[in-house]
Symmetry: D2
């Protein structure tokens, strides 16, 4: 008997040469042998798309000049792609994702999902109608110790959650930057209405709600563009109110010199608390009332099923960013395999719903900041 | 030739048996041999005052039953106390300090200085009139690496400060506590109008402005009392606006289980940034643009005069809380010695002015929180 | 123009279900898309080999019952495997590797290479004669910050190396263990003459010499089997003498409760020093004379070409064990691609020579320990 | 009723201006108000002794020119010193300590106690005969979490101790140094036969045996003088054999650039293990079998009576080097107070016996190193 699953056929939109995140998606897809990259429309110009495709070994006829050609071409093949990864700058997420979903493809899409609530809802409806799988790469939720944290909250080991602090510190945009990564992220036409807020604030929001299990109800926010001439926020701080009286603080920045990718989460409950840092992802600190602090390690004693399902290596053999990212990809593959064998739909990954929630968050924060920090209810959450 | 300075005669109000902070003040005063404790009114009842005095070796006639008796008694002696330490619960700071100042004593007073702006201004005026020394034990500003941080900001090594994050995490009031320390701090009659805000929020505010050199102009705050039945906030989070466009986040709590005395400060500028944690006080992280992170150590290479003046031991021989506290006491002694030899007034310690600033902060935060987090200008700062 | 390289055809000997290290090799081979697994003899019994092969999606005719069948079968195919990964228990390394080399396959073999110097030299001679690529998975030398460390030593940033401390702390064999991993490692018939010494001591020795660039000349060792009934050492400590007067300490253990995979290296020179920990692999501490400590980060400022060539992600996006392992696999693929295009042989990975050095080390340590810790010269190093 | 104890009258030999350790002893004596410094012979020349005495506020007639004058002078006063602190370079420990003991003074003496076993035994005999208190400032054993560690070992929480690793890393002598501290420590005439070995190796040995409770039986050592022209070892590494089969590694150095005062201890038993670092002294790591790691904090949950007796501040308010040093001084004062009230002799501090053990250790290490690392039994330990 075999537990083997044939690799899914994957096509990628965006992610050509020099695109950091495209390479990450490819490593993540490759790591477990559950995907094979068969097609791509990898750049915004047909010529560069084909060059990038060749550099990745795609056959010329499946290295498409545009994403529209890709969807058409793959749709028409018996061996066509089953899953589309969308790793373009933000402004293309919506048209590509919508078309892909409507064409019946499964989709793995980067965040923030889309720029406005209207588009978010339209996309969510399309996914619902199509019945396809739709993952949003809130990749930090793929870390095993984040799963451990969520499981501990769910099991009540923290009691009722009272306070959540989530921080995402970066410094790479502290000065006027050039370069592909910086350029589109600071351009409203491609990045959307939010800068750091959309790029990393949505990660912070997703992680906080994912682990705490709480619904975020209101935000009071301050957005700042520190670098002269910058048109989008490069720093965002806000107070949070969750359902049931829990409170929170969220601060993200891309101008904090020296901070690399310093995402941190602390959750405090009536019985215990948890702390985690992305740059040390294999450890989770747990404090119980009147007990010494514990350091839980990935693969180590005290971890539960949720973390272990995301774990490839024994304790002390660190897993990191790519492995967490790959956990999202693997979960999509598992979901599709389960569907194929009639075992139903069970998405153990962030879905379009989570993507929509991120857009709600972003929209409310923008509104609060525009109103001098007034408390604003999350759109659509009521 | 001698650099010897005779010890100052010190009297203490409050700080009897079981009072944590009284013992800290006594260790701090003793450490450098610059003070000798000669008198005390150590408890709120005459009998316990005298017992505590005896336990400390005070002569019976200088172990007073009340603080009024102490001021009177010491005033009348040729060998009377020169400096009064006030380490009572908050509600007594004002009457004792005012009377002590008016009687011509130098004062070292705990924080928060007084409950209201009116009292703060009255006390400040009294100090001005008396010309006496008045220190407020914002003890964290006595840490050498905090001095180092301030000096680096002043020298422009961070460029212009853009963002300040200050956090003060404690968990010891996460449940309904009994015990002397917890009891008065959660009682408005003795603690004043603020709970965690006054107890540790004022430390956070002072540290942030002390190091950054920025004036805090506006706050938008959320205060919470998480523990059922608690009458004062046990958690306070807020957004900050500083002069010149700098922004900040301040979050303090006494309900974060497992956090002991976790005060943290990060300052981000246009050219570099700094991070420091009170629980690892001998290290200061410095990040310059496009340079590897540096760990500055107390007593180690790269530290400047401001830190070194506060340093007793070589690098690697850690100094900690008592030494930092003692630096405040020693600076008061240095100031008085300089006055005595006619070298003028040069208080290298937090003064009544800093205490007043803390009250302004506290008052504005209370007002903002009462107004659902509206931005409130700091009283008196304009 | 394309930088694409077709994937190499890989076969695996050992590494069936439940074998930790086999899965690691497969992830490492998959990560960069430079290998495709085409065949395997995955277990010690034909039946389990075939089951494991099916679970990995191998075609039944290339899921061999024995390694001899695999070599024969793949040799005879035009699309036969080019590279053989040997991930069996230690006692099979020699016969499989020798046969594979003699059959003209490239080999990636686990460590310790073989049990005795005689076999090591025979294998080395065979590799020389065949002219094939032969990598030994001293995987820790694949970490980018280890490459950075080596480059800094080579560039003279440490001056002359005086002292090397290398430690490898594990605790998983602190009690009598059962389970596949523990069982064969504590069995002389399968593990060879050394326990912890062979399993992790050889890693420590390789890392120390790889980074320091020094030849190890003498060892004075103590081997201990702490767990009652254990037939092989589970703890090894020794003093080291390197060429040119440098000194060292090496201690490894598998009975240190709580230690997971805690490999540490410190190198001290006349001008500076370096420290690195495997469980925090993205950071490298550098201390220069009279300068603050620097924390170099993978992908961050101050890293050089050697590290960057091993780096996939920006700073702050941690890479870890699998990525380091994959760097060995990728380097083999790069070497073979260079050979194919006539660019010569340039193995940027540990080769059979390094494997032989490890056997020399192991042999000398065993001899020293047997002689009550007398200093013993490394065999073959003269 | 009062728990007050009158301060002991303290005299100091050595420790004049610029002497780091003299100031430490004075801070330690002052911290708890249990000593008052009444006399000193602070420098090696009468003139500088008197200058230093004046600088500390000693009365001129008790600021002696030589230590002999001090002993005579204080002996003859009704208010004469009771306790003599000896903080000279090593070569004076023996004559001063012997004379002080024979004159009936209690003594607090720096380490290493004396240069040879003969002197050690003579001094020990003198102490026995005099019946006076004699403390050796193995100050690291005054850290609360070291007491916690010892208590946990004693209570069996680690099971049987199998392995001890003790390290003491310094870098301040990495180059040819001038300056008072460096000068005498590298001069055999004043430092004695051992350099780093005596200066910090004895601390390491004492800490290891203090915590583990094991008797050190044999050493196999390598001593090195790395800095050209240096006449004493600046680096010492050795293997250890303890009673009952436990093994150990000890490495100390003063040429490890960047290391400040990095003393570390790990103790591994059959049921658990402990790790502690002097530069982070408020934390103790505990690993139990198959349990998550715990971080015990000074003053925090899980600490026992031994640690708490050494603790002044609540958890999170760090205590450090001076407080640990002061714990030794306070323990001497407690011992003398107990003797005074007839409660017997109970020295909770390192005594002359521990000092003698350190000399035995030093002697055996020197012998082993001279014999090319042969195992040498500790003198006198049988």
């Amino acid at each position: 008997m075999s537990n083997y699953q044939r690799p899914l056929r994957l096509a990628m939109v965006g992610g050509g040469q020099d695109a950091f995140i495209g390479a990450v998606h490819r490593h993540a897809a490759a790591l477990d042998g559950r995907y094979v990259l068969v097609a791509g429309a990898l750049s915004s110009t047909p010529e560069r798309s084909r060059e990038s495709g060749a550099a990745l070994g795609l056959s010329p006829e499946r290295s498409y000049g545009t994403w529209q050609e890709l969807l058409d071409g793959e749709k028409g093949r018996v061996d066509g792609a089953e899953v589309i990864s969308i790793v373009t700058p933000n402004h293309l997420h919506f048209p590509v994702a919508l078309a892909a979903v409507q064409a019946g493809f499964h989709v793995i899409c980067d965040k923030p999902l889309v720029p406005t609530l209207k588009e978010a809802q339209e996309l969510e409806a399309a996914v619902k109608q199509a019945g396809t799988a739709f993952a949003v790469t809130y990749n930090y939720s793929g870390y095993p110790m984040i799963r451990q944290a969520r499981e501990m909250v769910r099991k009540g080991e923290l009691g009722s959650v009272r306070k959540v602090i989530v921080e995402y510190h970066q410094g790479w945009l502290a000065t006027e930057q050039t370069g592909k990564q910086a350029e589109w992220r600071t351009d409203p036409a491609r990045s959307g209405p939010a800068g750091a807020l959309g790029d990393i604030g949505t990660h912070a929001e997703q992680l906080a709600t994912f682990v705490s299990g709480l619904t975020l109800e209101e935000v009071a926010a301050e957005l700042t563009a520190f670098v002269p001439g910058r048109r989008l926020d490069d720093d965002a701080s806000m107070l949070l109110r969750f359902e049931g009286g829990a409170r929170g603080v969220l601060t993200v920045s891309q101008i904090e010199i020296g901070r690399e990718n310093d995402l941190r989460l602390s959750v405090f409950g009536t019985k215990g608390s948890l702390s985690w840092r992305q740059e040390d992802p294999n450890h989770l600190l747990f404090d119980g009332l009147d007990r010494p602090r514990q350091i839980l390690t990935r693969g180590g004693p005290g971890t539960g099923g949720a973390a272990n399902a995301m774990t490839r290596l024994p304790a002390g053999h660190p897993e990191a960013f790519i492995e967490a990212f790959a956990n999202i990809y693997r979960a999509v593959a598992d979901d599709l395999a389960a569907r194929e064998r009639g075992a139903g739909v069970n998405p153990d990954y962030p879905t379009v719903k989570d993507g929509v929630q991120g857009v709600e968050f972003m929209t409310s924060v923008l509104e609060s900041a525009a109103a001098n920090g007034n408390w604003v209810s999350l759109k659509g959450s009521g």
